[in-house]
């Protein structure tokens, strides 16, 4: 687990090509790195720094601002249990305690088999469905202890295939062919956004 793989470097270069300034590709490239290794490695950040022409410290500074980039290995499934006010009233803390017992870990820790990490999170904006949780940022609403155990069993046995590994952004990678790109014109040099012309073209 280190720098971006050859295949991902190629994707990275394609992503960089979409922006007038390569530095703008920083966040997409960090996602790419997290997708590759499940978390963002130091080596990947150094590699990204080289690719976009900034210092590694600047990459770390940007990346560490965001909660969803992880800099330590995490489980294949990141389980975020909400303990904010609505969920707390509806049993979120009890659910978290149950999860700790079921998995045998504390929030922030990862199970020995490397499958699960639990996090105690602030409001995830599903108050009407409290208590709620996310697995790799996919929602599960009004969860009971039994449902939680079943979810864990299904994930462990591999019978649930709808949740990809942590870091995966989408099941289908976005590809923008060169002729569909917005073009690498710096904002200062553009009178109208490039997409405006292409969208008008598409409408007519």
């Amino acid at each position: 687990m280190a720098r971006l793989s050859a295949e991902n470097t190629e994707i990275a270069l394609e992503i960089i090509g979409r922006y007038p300034r390569s530095k703008s590709a920083l966040i997409p490239l960090l996602h790419l790195a997290q997708e590759q290794d499940g978390y963002v490695t130091d080596e990947a950040m150094a590699h990204i720094a080289d690719l976009v022409g900034v210092s590694a410290a600047e990459v770390l500074g940007t990346a560490s601002f965001y909660e969803m980039f992880k800099f330590e290995p995490v489980g294949r499934y990141m389980v975020n249990i909400c303990t904010n006010i609505s969920c707390q009233l509806m049993g979120g803390e009890e659910l978290l305690e149950h999860a700790e017992h079921t998995l045998g870990i504390r929030p922030g820790q990862t199970t020995d088999d490397g499958l699960f990490t639990i996090e105690d999170v602030e409001c995830i904006a599903a108050c009407t469905e409290a208590p709620c949780l996310q697995v790799n940022y996919r929602y599960f609403h009004k969860i009971t202890n039994g449902e939680f155990d079943q979810l864990i069993a299904e994930l462990r046995s591999g019978s649930r295939t709808d949740i990809p590994a942590h870091g995966t952004l989408a099941k289908v990678r976005q590809r923008i062919p060169a002729d569909r790109r917005a073009g690498v014109i710096t904002p200062e040099d553009t009178a109208h956004p490039v997409w405006l012309a292409s969208s008008q073209e598409a409408q007519s």
Binding site: M45, L60, S64, E67
Partner: protein, 893 residues
């Protein structure tokens, strides 16, 4: 900035605390208030960096017409009619609140903090903050302190996140190696793991840190601000001449800090300069003279050492005496030694440069420029010299600012990439030896269609277009881009450019501190003090010196060759180390071996002074008063802050003592008397005086800032008289409002009358004044034909090397990077080697076994090395007589 700079025409009238203040258009409120005498407290704002409004300390009540509101005064420009209250209750409440907030997590460990006593957080809390803390909660704790580089320590608990250091690193130095990491309450400044803040400018962050978060390891726990005694001086780390303050305690130099002067360093220093404070107290400082005995160099009495030195000099004929060095000296020392060597001993074999600089006619005779002119907005700068980041770091900062902020177009011609390449609009890497040919193409009347000097036609044409489009004169930073290339190559290129564009101006980029001053004072063959040649100044100096050399003498190369041939009886090394610095090690070895008596005048022993027969202990920087001259020709004062070690004496005292023993009298007993003599006999320095210097804290440009030559002055005065008569006429017709001007010039006119007679008298004595040296256009240089099996050597220098300044400091010594042979990735692959493999590097002189690395900054067919590093003595490869050094690189497997 001085108030007089505020032009009333473009001014904006604002009201600060009920007083009307005229601000410059676009001026920030915090600056306008300060200029008007109202200091607004601040942490993040720094007048040499862009404002960010991070700390909120400068909140003041501002009413721009919509009622008063708190606004950060570092972020708003003055607008007409703005009403500002900096001392209202609301403002005070805001300042109190901000300080309480900033102190929430601050550890208040002032008793063990280096900043305590000079800390803006401490001072402003006392002045504007809450008297007591309401904080009962646990504060944030972090590991204290962590080293973020070899020189800088970071204590994150103390940090108030003002963004000064990070802005400096990114915007000023261009080394964004420190950054805010994490978010919210967890935010901290830090480096990337295992990637230290290895910037040449890291020490500046310590100086501008408004709390004790960043401290310098060389100064850690060394002194308390209230124990420090401070004097202003000029850094002698290189020839940029940054203004510094020297802090001492218990008669020991503790640290240097940058002093902000507009024409030079803007308050910044490089780490080598800043931490060269350790050199003053270095172990091994010579505190008494040494003389060679059977057992080697042994301490001696001054009277014995000086008598022995004088006896050796007295016994030698003038042409068999030679003096090398002088850049460590003050102007006064240099003048004293020039007077001793040329005026008493009568030898002209004197050279302050070590065959690694430029001929004196180029340094002193080319149309010159200043750093400010070089960096003036919209200009075109051509780097035809060494990497400024490595050799003249603060000049690099000024150039970087000029390119990034002032639309300066930078072109670079250097055989390998430099620290400033990324800022250059065109960066050409000619094959060593062919820069002149490249310059001919760049200044030609039409585009080229072929590759020249290894540079493609497209690149040449693009650079040619940039040069042709230059708005105003092209300003050249002129020096030695590679020391394995003959100086004639650089001179050829300069001659071509000057021929094509006669308005071209030059800034000589010589590295050693007071080299310009040493040359000014005549420490060069064929020269006399005051930038005049021996021939031009002979009659002038015959009147005030006992003697003047009969004919031009030898330069360092000539001296070493003569010594090797047994023709030098006494070789004086004035703080020079030819073995380390002459880019031809073999010649230096032969020269030192052949000289019969070597007298070294130095502060520390070096490779060359270890060979000396007599070593005279000299007082160094901060241990003696005097003046120095930077690369612009700017003379500034050096101050004594501490006493020299033991019985070490100033260089001028040694010259004077030797003269006395030789039966002559140099005629001065203090540095001030020498300065007065320089001001009255050195033609370029006429009029220079202590009084004049005392009134010029930024230094004096010689000769521009000196009183004008008498004839011109008289002409001008005559013109002024005519003008005044005209003004009198117009005053009669003018309205009352304009009479003030007329009256002023009238007063001036009366003064003229009273001084005219005295000045005419002076003018008569100035009639024979010799004119100063002019540049001798260089001949066309033709490099040997390209041999595709060979590599041409490019030898450059790094900021940290085996030189005295770096090696005598505990903290700098380890930073010298060492060297390897570096070739382009293409050649690297062609050789079929792995990084770090040992290869045989063979020149006509010798063969070295060195590690090899690929470097994308090196051109095909060239090989780059660094001089004066500990591991490999690459100057052994070079022969100074060759235009270029050709190498064969062979694998050893």
């Amino acid at each position: 900035m001085p108030e007089s700079e505020a032009p009333a025409v473009d001014g904006v009238v604002v009201e600060i605390n009920g007083l009307e203040v005229i601000a410059r258009k676009g001026e920030l409120l915090i600056d306008a208030a300060e200029r008007a005498g109202t200091y607004i407290p601040r942490f993040c704002y720094h007048e040499r960096m862009k404002p960010v409004g991070m700390c909120r300390m400068c909140l003041v009540e501002v009413d721009s017409g919509r009622g008063p509101a708190l606004q950060p005064s570092c972020m708003i420009e003055c607008t007409p009619g703005m009403k500002v209250e900096t001392e209202s209750e609301i403002t005070k409440k805001a300042q109190d609140g901000v300080l309480e907030f900033l102190l929430l997590n601050h550890p208040l460990d002032c008793p063990v903090c280096d900043k305590g006593g000079e800390c803006p957080l401490q001072d402003q809390t006392m002045a504007y903050g809450p008297g007591e803390s309401r904080m009962v909660e646990e504060k944030r704790h972090k590991e204290k302190p962590i080293p973020i580089s070899e020189l800088v320590l970071l204590d994150r608990e103390r940090c108030i996140l003002c963004d000064r250091c990070t802005r400096f690193a990114k915007d000023v130095a261009g080394d964004p190696l420190i950054h805010f990491i994490h978010r919210g309450n967890n935010t901290e400044v830090n480096t990337f793991p295992d990637e230290p803040f290895a910037s040449y400018f890291s020490g500046n962050t310590v100086q501008i840190c408004p709390v004790g978060a960043l401290t310098a390891s060389p100064y850690r726990f060394k002194a308390r601000p209230w124990d420090l005694e401070t004097t202003e001086s000029t850094c002698q780390g290189c020839s940029v001449g940054c203004r510094i303050s020297i802090d001492s305690s218990r008669d020991q130099v503790q640290r240097y800090s940058g002093v902000d002067i507009d024409p030079v360093n803007w308050g910044w220093l490089c780490d080598k300069g800043r931490f060269s404070s350790e050199t003053v107290n270095a172990e091994g400082r010579l505190s008494e003279p040494l003389m060679r005995t059977a057992a080697g160099l042994a301490p001696a009495r001054w009277s014995d050492a000086l008598s022995a030195a004088a006896a050796a000099l007295a016994a030698a004929s003038p042409t068999s005496i030679a003096v090398i060095g002088g850049a460590r000296l003050t102007n006064e020392d240099a003048y004293a030694w020039a007077k001793l060597a040329k005026g008493v001993l009568g030898t002209d074999n004197v050279d302050a440069q070590l065959a690694d600089g430029l001929p004196v006619d180029a340094v002193l005779g080319l149309p010159c420029t200043t750093i400010d002119e070089l960096c003036a907005p919209g200009g075109t700068v051509l780097l035809l010299g060494p990497d400024p980041k490595e050799e003249l770091p603060v000049l690099f900062l000024r150039l970087r600012h000029a390119v990034e902020n002032d639309r300066v177009t930078l072109l670079e011609i250097s055989p390998r990439a430099t620290g400033i390449s990324s800022l250059a609009r065109a960066s050409l890497q000619p094959r060593p030896g062919e820069t002149g040919e490249l310059m001919r193409a760049l200044t030609a009347s039409s585009d080229t269609d072929r590759e020249i000097a290894g540079v493609s036609a497209d690149r040449i044409n693009a650079a040619r277009a940039l040069l042709a489009a230059a708005n105003g004169p092209v300003k050249v930073v002129l020096g030695r881009a590679s020391l394995s290339e003959s100086v004639s190559v650089t001179l050829d290129a300069a001659t071509v450019l000057l021929g094509a564009r006669p308005d071209t101006v030059f800034l000589p980029a010589l590295r050693r501190a007071n080299i310009h001053g040493a040359l000014d004072m005549g420490l060069a063959p064929g020269m006399l003090p005051g930038r005049v040649t021996l021939d031009a100044g002979r009659n002038w100096f015959a009147e005030c010196w006992p003697t003047v050399p009969a004919a031009p003498g030898l330069d360092t190369i000539g001296i070493l060759e003569a010594a090797a041939a047994g023709n030098i009886d006494v070789l004086v090394l004035l703080g020079a180390d030819p073995l380390a610095d002459v880019p031809d090690a073999e010649l230096a070895e032969r020269g030192l071996a052949g000289a019969r008596t070597i007298i070294s005048v130095d502060t520390l022993l070096n490779a060359s002074s270890l060979r000396a027969d007599i070593v005279l202990a000299a007082a160094g920087f901060a241990e003696k008063a005097g003046t120095t001259t930077n690369l612009e020709g700017r003379v500034s004062a050096l101050s004594q802050r501490v006493t020299p070690p033991g019985t070490a004496r100033a260089d001028w005292v040694l010259a004077s003592e030797l003269a006395t023993r030789l039966g002559a009298d140099l005629g001065f007993t203090t540095p001030n008397e020498i300065l007065a003599e320089i001001g009255s006999v050195a033609p370029s320095h006429l009029g220079l005086s202590l009084d004049l210097l005392a009134g010029a804290p930024d230094g004096l440009l010689v000769p521009a800032d000196l009183p004008e030559p008498i004839e011109e002055l008289l002409e001008e005065l005559a013109e002024e008289l005519v003008d005044q008569t005209a003004a009198d006429v117009s005053t009669d017709a003018a309205s009352d409002g304009e009479t003030a001007e007329g009256a002023e010039s009238g007063e001036g006119g009366e003064e003229v009358d009273s001084t005219v007679l005295a000045e005419i008298e002076l003018a008569e004595s100035a009639a024979a004044q010799p004119s100063t040296v002019t540049f001798i256009p260089a001949a066309v240089v033709s490099a040997p034909p390209v041999d595709s099996y060979s590599f041409r050597l490019v030898a450059t220098r790094k900021l940290y090397d085996q030189g005295t300044i770096v090696q005598s400091g505990n903290h700098l010594a380890g930073l010298a990077p060492g060297t390897s042979v570096r070739v382009s990735p293409y050649d690297f692959d062609r050789l079929g080697v792995a990084p770090g493999d040992t290869v045989s590097v063979r020149s006509p002189r010798t063969t070295l076994m060195m590690p090899i690395h690929a470097d994308s900054g090196v051109s095909r067919g060239t090989a780059a090395v660094v001089l004066n590093q500990a591991d490999y003595r690459v100057s052994e490869l070079m022969n100074i007589a060759d235009v270029v050094t050709e190498l064969r690189i062979e694998t050893t497997k």
